[in-house]
């Protein structure tokens, strides 16, 4: 069973508000991914880290989304100004190496009113 911990489970924000969610990767896993899963079960890769360094992020992430994985602290994903289209399940995953085997948390379900 995965030991990736995501908080909070549910997050409700108004449009324009900041939304922040956290992830504690599985112990010993240096690689962390964030995915967005929409209501149609489409997964969108947002960003990934190796240790504290960003490996890759999509354009959308660079504009309103920010993420970090500081040492000895939970990783976080923050949306600076939430939009209705951001409503989705945000999944954090970690792995020992690349994307060969990702272990997922239970997700944070964001609802933007």
């Amino acid at each position: 069973n995965s030991k990736v911990i995501q908080t909070p489970r549910y997050l409700v924000k108004g449009q324009g508000q900041k939304a922040k969610m956290r992830c504690i990767p599985e112990k010993g896993h240096p690689v962390v991914f964030w995915y967005q899963q929409n209501k149609n079960n489409e997964f969108k890769f947002l960003i990934n880290f190796q240790n504290q360094e960003v490996l890759q992020q999509i354009d959308m992430t660079e504009k309103r989304f920010s993420a970090e994985c500081p040492s000895n602290s939970p990783c976080s994903l923050e949306i600076q100004s939430s939009e209705a289209g951001d409503s989705a399940l945000y999944l954090c995953a970690s792995s020992f190496r690349g994307a060969e085997t990702l272990y997922f948390g239970s997700g944070t379900r964001l609802t933007v009113l």
Binding site: S2, E42, F43, L55, Q56, E100, Y103
Partner: protein
């Protein structure tokens, strides 16, 4: 472009019956393939993974999958379905790039189990 297709949005089987969920991939080279399951209001759990080698891989809870390069497929099977298998199943391929690796997912197949 690399992609994963799950042609069946929903599959319904009777409890105790056998199951096959289909997955087709498009990938240049030899893929690493995965099946994940998502139970209601939960994240994804890994069922099984294929790394180049034996084409039939065993997973948890009696699931197995068979890789076919000629058919570009990685179908999931189970001999006898249990009501607790009711969930959404996702097939994924690992995409390697110069900036790290990531998974490409299909849109999932909802498995419903009839009593």
């Amino acid at each position: 472009a690399q992609s994963v297709t799950q042609p069946d949005a929903r599959v319904t089987v009777s409890e105790g019956a056998s199951l096959q969920l289909r997955c087709k991939y498009s990938y240049f080279g030899t893929p690493y393939l995965f099946w994940y399951v998502q139970y209601p209001r939960q994240g994804l759990q890994l069922l099984l993974k294929y790394y180049p080698g034996d084409p039939v891989v065993q997973g948890v809870n009696g699931f197995e999958a068979e890789f076919s390069k000629s058919n570009s497929s990685f179908h999931l099977r189970k001999a006898s379905v249990h009501w607790s298998d009711w969930a959404v199943y996702f097939c994924a391929v690992s995409l390697y790039g110069s900036s790290g690796n990531k998974l490409i997912f299909g849109i999932g197949t909802l498995l419903s189990v009839k009593p």
